[in-house]
Symmetry: C2
Subunit: 326 residues, 2 copies
């Protein structure tokens, strides 16, 4: 009789054999907030790590309604047809079906869900982006150990989630619609600046002309930014998930980008930068939590804020006093 | 015979009497990095604090060439004519005359420099924005204690200096030129979003028509943002420092804004928020410095980054190890 909780070693073995059930179970353990799971989770990650890092990680973002699910369905199917194993994960700190996370609604990706070479996993739940992002980064390691060669990380772009996805992927694709009029929004939130490519989706039927026009416009907007630090100038394309048009061209673009990045060693350099970013981010977030959640500080902070509001201390004096308490 | 280094008490007394020489000396002591000055500096700030906070603090930004110095000359002179005492400070972390800081070149503000009711002080030097901003905030306290009713904080907008100035002022004015084509730049860097008003300068002669057009365009752009949290919708105006046109209208706008903000208590609420922001900012920056400058951490950090780059640890594992060392 099989144990309900398989050991970390057992799970790792089956993950390395490419067993999707084991992969799912292991991700559930990693996502668990139960204390009893944390040792197992750590062990699985440790075991999988030497087999990780060999994939291409692609970030995909776009507002609800842009057609992300249909796009990923087509894009993922194209890749599996090419013999690749494709995992689809999501970063959505507000995760729930009603909030529009495509992965909550797997029925929109009928083909891919049934495909044995595809693995689809909804976003970890949780309200802190940091927490959700960490779980996703750990899930990437497990998927890579299970032999997934392309990892797609999808986000609906709540809060800073695009920034999180951008900093865990090798290529960042922004899906857009023609005439949505949200160019300013994209510039303002810094999303345009993060994109390695913009694909205008729903470039079909009556919409085709507008999509081509939008392509020109986004292209011009992209040229206002300096080239990326690897010299890459982001590209704009049109596609139709509905008619399965332009999807192949997007993959060709990404494939070229990645092979060039590997040739110039930018690929590894970029991943190293991302690792360092997450390391520092994790440290700094813990330093703050430890400080502000200290009961002595909590009480003294209220007191100092009172003095500030009464004009009886400067923020710098108050900071010194608080820092002196630890 | 007068001592070369007057005591904190002496300096405070003379500051409270409105003595500009004492004010200058005290600011120099505050800006000093010499250890021997820090006790005096703290004492002066402590003594001045009960007499501070009564001014209106106005932030002014704009790219070099927009005419900030001529604008401040006219604007400041208008205020002194109205019987107000005006102090002009600057936040410029790259401070040096060659970098275009207007206050380095006082000759551009001939009238204001000679005016006994005006006090002009170049930016504190220093390469860290945090350091420069802190000194400026402390200088504000001293100027207020010396009876300055309007404090103008100017910045040329290097790095994040607009954000710093925005978070220490009650009203943030963005100076622009017609047809400069840097709208995108302003949106991208979030400066448009911070502005309480935009003034198109050099609206004179052949430039007048273009300035009026720019006014309409910036107005439209501003309406794409949600109203500020006090319900304020930023305004756009035109002015000419050269012809002394539109300057009075800008002051009228600011005066109305401030009196309304005081009526609704938003004024104090906003200053409280700013104080809290600077408090947390100072704490967090020190927590990080203390951690990263710890020699044990410095060494271990290099080691962990090595493991990360070799794919032998996750950023989260490395963070745990480093945090465990303190």
């Amino acid at each position: 009789k099989r144990s309900i909780s398989p050991s970390a070693e057992e799970l790792t073995q089956r993950i390395l054999q490419g067993n999707n059930t084991a992969l799912s179970q292991a991700i559930t353990i990693i996502e668990s907030t139960a204390k009893k799971h944390s040792t197992t989770a750590e062990a699985i990650i440790k075991n999988c790590l030497p087999h990780a890092n060999k994939s291409v990680r692609i970030g995909i973002t776009g507002v609800p309604g842009v057609g992300k699910s249909s796009f990923i369905e087509r894009f993922g199917s194209l890749l599996t047809e090419k013999g690749k194993k494709v995992a689809v994960l999501a970063v959505d700190p507000s995760s729930s079906v009603s909030k529009g996370s495509i992965l909550g609604d797997k029925t929109r990706m009928e083909e891919l869900v049934k495909n044995p070479n595809a693995f689809i996993r909804p976003s970890a739940s949780g309200t802190s982006l940091g927490g959700v992002a960490r779980k996703t980064r750990e899930a990437i390691i497990l998927c890579e150990a299970a032999g997934y060669e392309i990892i797609i990380i999808e986000t609906v772009g709540v809060g800073q989630s695009e920034t999180a996805v951008h900093s865990m992927t090798d290529f960042f694709l922004l899906l857009k619609l023609a005439g949505a009029g949200d160019e300013l929004q994209g510039i303002k939130r810094g999303i345009m600046e993060m994109a390695d490519a913009i694909a205008i989706n729903k470039a079909d039927g009556e919409n085709l002309k507008a999509a081509k026009l939008a392509k020109t416009e986004f292209n011009r907007a992209l040229h206002l930014y300096p080239p990326k630090d690897n010299g890459w100038i982001p590209k704009t394309l049109t596609c139709s998930a509905l008619e399965n048009e332009g999807i192949k061209e997007i993959w060709d673009l990404i494939e070229n980008y990645i092979s060039e990045a590997k040739e110039t060693h930018y690929f590894q350099h970029h991943r190293n930068q991302q690792n360092k970013f997450w390391l520092l981010q994790t440290i700094e977030s813990r330093l703050k939590t430890d400080f502000y959640e200290n009961p002595t500080i909590k009480e003294a902070l209220e007191e100092q804020i009172g003095l500030l509001n009464a004009g009886k201390a400067t923020p710098f004096q108050a900071a010194e006093r608080l820092l002196g308490l630890t």
